[in-house]
């Protein structure tokens, strides 16, 4: 654990990012956007108090990517190394889902594996929370414990810099050889801040009926036939925004078409399980013809399937789906209703 003076943050990040494509946060009102840049720009870029609008997954699992052809794979292999600065825990933790599905489940998706290898993640502690944040209810916390390469905790006492991976440690040694060890005051400031923001977001989740140790798996599994899914599905317009905004959703479509030169081209593009034809087969059979069944399926996948196969929820409490939903379906309300009904 190292100490960085606030005044040196810009220089530090410029050095850290050198030679790589940079993804950073830009503030826009009370939101942040994940943007691409050539270099870290202290005038434009910030660490961010909480997660941006765009999920981190989009950097390693793009919304739409050419796959299935030697030229596509060569392009992925030749892609520039990149670094993202300001990733928050919800997004970093969500990559466990993508790692499991795309990289660890054989055969590996080489496009994802390459992008993961080429992307360094510099995370930082949340210093505030959005109204929709509820990460403690799904067993998460507003700071990274593992999964990024370097973590920054910006406190009034300075910035605590911590390497969380071997390559993070290597980069720190090369890019910032002179950083002193973090002193006790800085460590205490970080811990106090983590406790404060943790309490803030815990209270917000609890005020919506979502306690830290709630058994969401039991709640979802036990309500499949309950009317609550029909009630919430009344407001769903099947736009798929929840899936696209989600930090964990991984489903995709292999779409065949032709490129500008008329050659066959295959795209791997994000899909939505709320779409009517998501599970339909060519013969016409569709196990989820009803919208309520599709809405239930989304929660079943996140709160039942992934606990079964990976031992964790596929939800990190980022609240993006609640902000993105055209029908104003709030995941916190859905989970609360399921908890009450189960």
């Amino acid at each position: 654990m190292l100490k960085l003076d606030k005044g040196r943050l810009g220089d530090f990040l410029q050095t850290l990012c050198r030679g790589r494509a940079v993804y950073a946060l830009e503030q826009d009102g009370d939101q942040y956007h994940l943007v691409r840049a050539e270099a870290w720009d202290p005038e434009r870029h910030v660490l961010g108090a909480y997660r941006p609008v765009e999920p981190l997954k989009s950097l390693v699992f793009p919304p739409r990517e050419r796959v299935g052809a030697p030229a596509a794979l060569a392009e992925a292999e030749g892609a520039a190394e990149s670094i993202v600065v300001g990733a928050k825990n919800c997004d970093v933790s969500a990559l466990r889902i993508h790692d499991f599905v795309l990289r660890e489940t054989a055969p590996a998706d080489p496009y994802y594996a390459l992008a993961r290898e080429k992307t360094l993640i510099v995370s930082c502690d949340c210093t505030d929370a959005r109204e929709v944040c509820f990460c403690p209810a799904v067993g998460e916390q507003p700071y990274v414990k593992e999964g990024s390469d370097i973590n920054l905790a910006a406190t009034p006492e300075g910035i605590l810099v911590e390497a969380l991976s071997r390559r993070g440690a290597d980069l720190l040694r090369r890019a910032a050889p002179g950083l002193p060890p973090a002193d006790e005051a800085l460590a205490a400031a970080r811990d106090a801040q983590r406790a404060r923001v943790g309490e803030l977001v815990r209270e917000r989740a609890a005020s919506r009926g979502l306690k830290r140790d709630a058994d969401l798996r039991k709640a979802v599994r036990g309500t499949e036939e309950h009317g609550l899914w029909d009630e919430f599905a009344e407001d769903c317009v099947e736009c798929g925004a929840c899936n696209l905004a989600c930090c964990t959703c991984h489903c995709f479509l292999l779409a065949d078409g032709r490129d500008a030169d008329g050659r066959p081209a295959r795209l791997r593009q994000w899909d939505s399980c709320l779409y009517l034809n998501f599970a339909r087969v060519a013969g016409g059979a569709n196990p989820r013809r009803r919208r309520a069944a599709r809405l239930y399926n989304r929660f079943d996948k996140k709160f039942n399937f992934f606990p079964e196969v990976l031992g964790r929820y596929a939800c990190d409490g980022c609240g993006r789906c609640a902000e993105a939903c055209t029908g104003r379906i709030d995941i916190r309300d859905v989970l609360k209703r399921a908890l009450d009904a189960a």
């Binding site: 796959v67 299935g68 052809a69 030697p70 596509a72 794979l73 060569a74 292999e77 599905v101 795309l102 489940t105 054989a106 055969p107 590996a108 998706d109 080489p110 594996a113 390459l114 499949e224 991984h250 489903c251 995709f252 479509l253 292999l254 065949d256 078409g257 032709r258 050659r263 066959p264 081209a265 295959r266 791997r268 899909d271 399980c273 998501f278 599970a279 339909r280 087969v281 060519a282 013969g283 016409g284 059979a285 569709n286 196990p287 989820r288 013809r289 069944a293 399926n297 996948k301 399937f305 079964e308 196969v309």
Partner: protein, 275 residues
């Protein structure tokens, strides 16, 4: 360069056989052999148009070519049906799990097919025929809507030369003037008098349209088959074929990885499995 599981291998169509007015069998020769086992499937693509999952219907022991029996029901199959020998399609696979032949050895195997559902079962029958004495008895019960909907019609009389080894019976839902065989849905030839089986020790393998699989499963349970010895083809929307795209989830399973063949005990607790 690493292997790309989304990349299809070019495969030439070397022959096309019309089975019924809307079903054809295509013999393909992939650029390199695709050594599949009975029950495994492949993703077959028309370049630039789309891809769909099919279970090969030919003998798994023949490695350089494979036959795939395809009903015309959608965009990809419509285009496939228009293709002639010489055309090149794409193949990815083999994918999924094969029929567990080892669990069938020493047992009686009851094979129940409906319509084009006989296609994957034909690959299974060929695999069983290769070591025919290893199984106590092979029974085939096959039904289609009308006589002209029966696939492999030219081979059904002598069952690819293995008629002596198989207790076979066919049925059609609706007879026509030329049909002298049984009339009735496939479950009617699973009735006592038309079927003598060892349900207690035997295994049953079913493939057909969802409604046929549903009523056949009910019948097999009535006959006394154990849920873990009834093998069902749960062919969901298997798109990527490698457990990633999420389309074919069935409870805690992906049909493309854990199936497409499941024993009934694995899926009986799930809702809407026959939809």
């Amino acid at each position: 360069m690493q292997p790309d599981p989304y990349a299809p291998m070019p495969a030439a169509i070397v022959d096309v056989f019309a089975e019924t007015p809307n079903i054809k069998t295509f013999r393909l020769r992939p650029e390199a052999p695709v050594p599949f086992r009975a029950g495994q499937f492949v993703e077959l693509s028309v370049p630039g148009l789309g891809e769909a999952p099919f279970t090969p219907s030919s003998a798994p022991s023949v490695a350089d070519t494979m036959e795939i029996t395809i009903m015309r029901v959608g965009l990809v199959t419509e285009r496939l049906h228009a293709l002639k020998p010489g055309a090149v399609v794409g193949v990815r696979g083999p994918l999924g799990k094969p029929y567990p032949l080892e669990a069938m050895r020493g047992r009686e195997v009851l094979v129940v097919g409906g319509g084009v559902g006989l296609a994957p079962l034909r690959a299974l029958l060929f695999a069983l025929f290769e070591d025919v004495t290893a199984y106590r008895k092979i029974i085939l019960r096959y039904g289609a809507r009308t006589p002209s909907d029966l696939v492999y019609r030219g081979a059904l009389d002598d069952l690819w030369g293995m008629a002596d080894a198989v207790d076979a019976m066919l049925t059609v839902d609706r007879r026509d003037d030329g049909w002298t065989g049984h009339e009735g849905v496939v479950t009617t030839i699973l009735e006592p008098g038309r079927l003598t089986c060892d349900a207690r020790n035997g295994v049953a393998v079913v493939c057909g349209p969802p409604i046929m699989m549903k009523f056949t499963t009910v019948k097999l349970l009535d006959l006394g088959y154990a849920p873990d010895r009834i093998y069902l083809s749960m062919e969901k929307n298997m798109s990527c074929g490698i457990g990633k795209c999420g389309h074919c989830r069935l409870g805690a399973y992906y049909a493309c990885q854990d199936g497409p063949v499941f024993t009934f005990d694995k899926v009986q607790g799930l809702s809407r499995i026959w939809d």
